[in-house]
């Protein structure tokens, strides 16, 4: 089906990569390391769901890394103060939603360009956090890790939850009218207005949702270790944007799916272990990430040049 061509080609590339790994570095396919990898990336998947929505809506949010850090530390502090896990989760999501709402008001309400707004909030949040915490870790109470489950059980729960959320979003973007509105607004704001949709409201909601998902992901992250690292969110935005863009969501809005994002995320997640198994040092990771973003965008650009000729 031509409509899913882009997603399928990413899936194809992923398949190739996995096949190559099977041949060159079969040690990759051991169940325990794979499960650990999947668990580590589960929060990223959650954030990427939100970013897919933001980019489909023809916006961008580069402050998610800082939002993630703030939510992580905030949740950690509340947990350390004895709050029950459920409330901590709620608090984390709420903090994220509030941060997202701030972005949303400026972008949707004042029609400011999202790149510059989220650049400002990125730095403000990160520096604010540094100022308050001075890089200090937060020690979490024992009962919080894995929500009290065993490690393996906890890992499976997180992975299953992330996959479940992915499914929910895939369904919502396709079968919920609100999901379709996101596509409409991202394609053509004026046509959306003429069709009776309120573009500002949709844009605002997308940013709030992005923040809430980031808060959720932060919670999913902190229960994986006994401490909260305040720098845990660094570089998250690039990782997530790369996954979304590679997965076929056009930066010009209006097209793409979370399935493509998922394929892109898997592809990028496999890059780092591939590098390890191929004995390429890890510090090439950022360069490769940037190169992959550029390649994906160039490929899309060449394709639309051909279409428009």
């Amino acid at each position: 089906m031509n409509r899913y061509f882009r997603e399928l080609s990413v899936a194809g590339a992923l398949g190739l990569l996995l096949a190559m790994l099977a041949v060159v570095a079969p040690a990759f396919y051991q169940p325990q390391p794979l499960l650990s990898l999947a668990t580590r990336e589960a929060p990223t998947l959650v954030v990427a769901c939100g970013m897919a929505l933001v980019i489909i809506c023809r916006q961008i949010d580069i402050s998610v890394g800082s939002q993630f850090s703030v939510c992580s530390v905030g949740a950690g502090l509340l947990a350390a103060h004895g709050w029950p896990a459920g409330l901590v989760l709620l608090a984390s999501v709420s903090i994220g939603a509030l941060l997202g709402a701030f972005n949303g008001v400026l972008v949707a309400g004042l029609r400011l360009p999202s790149i510059v707004v989220t650049l400002a909030t990125l730095v403000s949040l990160r520096q604010g956090l540094n100022l308050v915490r001075q890089g200090e870790f937060v020690n979490l109470p024992d009962g919080l890790q894995w929500f009290g489950l065993s490690q393996t059980d906890g890992q499976w729960t997180l992975v299953a939850f992330a996959l479940g959320l992915l499914l929910v979003f895939a369904v919502a973007l396709r079968y919920l009218s609100a999901g379709r509105f996101v596509y409409a607004v991202g394609t053509d704001t004026e046509a959306a207005r003429l069709a009776g949709i309120n573009p500002q409201r949709v844009t605002f909601a997308v940013f709030v949702l992005m923040g809430a998902l980031t808060g959720l992901a932060a919670m999913m992250n902190i229960i994986q270790s006994p401490q909260v690292q305040p720098l845990s969110g660094n570089g998250l935005e690039l990782k997530v944007i790369a996954a979304v863009v590679v997965g076929g969501v056009a930066i010009s809005g209006g097209r793409g799916s979370v399935w493509g994002m998922f394929a892109g995320l898997l592809l990028l997640a496999c890059v780092s272990p591939t590098l390890t198994h191929l004995h390429i040092e890890a510090y090439w990771e950022k360069a490769i990430q940037g190169a992959i973003i550029l390649l994906a965008v160039v490929a899309d650009g060449l394709r639309s040049r051909k279409e428009n000729r």
Binding site: R3, Y175, S177, A184, T187, E190, G254
Partner: protein, 497 residues
């Protein structure tokens, strides 16, 4: 005798000193196809805007289904059952046809389940009613313009509109598609819907319409049942007028051929197989209806859309025009139709607008010389009688006519050999119009070759030394300047033989 679906009384509307509509009466009965005929600029689009609520009339009354409506807004009009199929559809290019129709018709509450099969079914049935062979799964981006129009019609159908306005619907349809469209229109009529059908194709009007109203210069010349009038009569109503405007006469004989086209066309636009030439000192008028390809031809000549067929010669030498820079280098200047978007940069001062095309000449070494620029602007302000408070006035602060003069000044500064004017007096008040005409005649006298694209028939007839009539993307005929108005119109419409 049921109430008319739509009743307009003494509708008057002006824009910036131009009277677009002057006391027009119009009514639409249920189950009727009422054609609206008139040249470009006669007021048809303004009337439509009033009916769809996009603009408020200065005077006059609107009644829909017997009820007076005082302040008609687009959403109110939609609710009252007015739907308009424009030539530029407002669809979502990245979404499918089924979704486009669904988004228009479904309520805009967010938390509803989307039933794709129902959406597809509804789209399929609506498209089938029109007889359009478009798959609901196609992305709108992949549809041609006529196909997109059919989708719009399907939307209107689905919205249960009682008053459907079709603005030149068959402009780019094939024969087969036209027949399908007629069937749709007849269907609508049979179900009691009233259709306002704007078209230039007289044969369509006679085939489809019950009544026809002719607009001319913002006034309604008359309404007649289709059976009681013939083609000649319609053309007479459209065109016949006293020539009240005196156009400056030609004073010199045309010189050598400046521009020569043979079989020119481009696969990227409807223009094909265009052959004609323009001589120095001559004003060559390019007449034709909207969509005939005149602006597209101008874009080809200015390098915005490169020609890939045929030969273009300037002063005898073959040239390729792949970009505006190349065109300007060859001495071609283009004063565009859309002066607010392409002709003048509204935010920049007049002086900067005027110097924009001649940087290399008046700013040697790329160094800006404000004094020179200012003098340059003052010269043109004086020569063209531009009314502004100074060379620093931003382009956006001027009236349409003065903006046009600034746009003209920009290109005159390049001392071109061929000047292409695209609708130079559209939306310009009478005084400035006359000034622009005198300027054009003066330029021709100085040896410039002028290609004048205009939908204002008296202007074309009065100003041109020769007239080329375009139709369907090609040159239908070339007539001498003192041609008969009705003959020109007939050629443009395609009814002449």
């Amino acid at each position: 005798m049921s109430a008319p679906l739509l009743e307009l009384r003494r509708i008057t509307k002006s824009y910036a000193g131009v009277h677009a509509l002057r006391g027009v009466d119009f009514d639409l009965q249920p189950g009727e196809v009422h054609a609206l005929l008139g040249e470009n600029g006669a007021g048809k689009s303004t009337l439509i805007r009033v009916v769809t609520g996009a603009h408020q009339p200065d005077r006059g009354s609107i009644a829909i289904a017997g009820q007076r409506v005082t302040h008609l807004t687009p959403s109110a009009a939609q609710q009252l059952g007015v739907a308009c199929i424009y030539q530029q559809p407002a669809l979502f290019p990245d979404l499918t046809v089924a979704e486009n129709i669904a988004l228009r018709l479904e309520p805009s509450t967010g938390l509803r389940l989307v039933h794709w099969s129902a959406r597809r079914e509804r789209a399929r049935s609506l498209l089938a009613r029109i007889g359009a062979s478009i798959s609901p799964e196609t992305e709108v981006r992949a549809l041609s313009m006529p196909e997109q129009q059919l989708v719009e019609i399907a939307c209107a159908l689905g919205a249960g509109a009682r008053i459907v306005i079709m603005d030149e619907p068959t402009a780019s349809l094939t024969q087969k598609e036209q027949h399908l469209l007629f069937a749709v229109v007849r269907d609508l009529r049979a179900s009691g819907v009233g259709v306002i059908y704007i078209s230039h194709r007289l044969d369509e009007i006679f085939a489809l319409a019950d009544r026809v109203t002719v607009l001319r210069d913002g006034e309604s010349v008359g309404t007649s049942p289709v059976g009681e009038i013939n083609e000649a009569g319609l053309i007479r109503m459209m065109v016949g007028r006293e020539v009240t405007q005196i156009y400056p006469p030609a004073e010199t004989e045309p010189g050598d051929t400046v521009l020569s086209l043979k079989g020119v066309g481009s696969s990227a636009c409807p223009v094909h197989d265009v052959t004609f030439d323009v001589r120095a000192g001559e004003v060559f008028g390019l007449a034709g209806l909207v969509g005939a390809g005149r602006t597209e031809l101008a874009r080809i000549l200015f390098g915005l859309t490169p020609a890939d067929r045929g030969e273009i010669r300037l002063n005898g030498q073959p040239v390729t025009l792949r970009s505006p820079q190349e065109a300007v280098a060859h001495g071609i200047a283009y004063v565009p139709e859309d002066r607010r978007r392409h002709g003048v940069v509204l935010e920049m001062p007049i002086a900067q607008n005027m110097s924009m095309a001649v940087h290399r000449r008046i700013f040697p070494g790329t160094w800006l010389r404000f004094g020179t620029e200012r003098r340059h602007a003052l010269d043109f302000i004086r020569d063209l009688a531009v009314k502004a408070y100074g060379p620093d006035a931003p382009g956006g602060s001027l009236s349409g006519g003065n903006q046009q003069k600034v746009s003209l000044a920009r290109w005159l500064a390049t001392k071109p050999k061929l000047l292409i004017l695209d609708e130079p007096t559209q939306g310009v008040d009478v005084g400035a119009k006359s000034e622009i005409h005198k300027i054009v005649r003066r330029l021709a006298k100085q040896g410039l070759a002028v290609l004048l694209i205009s939908s204002d028939l008296p202007e074309v007839l009065g100003m041109s030394d020769r007239i080329g009539i375009m139709r369907g993307g090609t040159m239908a005929a070339v007539l001498p300047g003192k041609a008969d108005a009705q003959e020109v119109m007939a050629l443009a419409l395609g009814t002449a033989k």
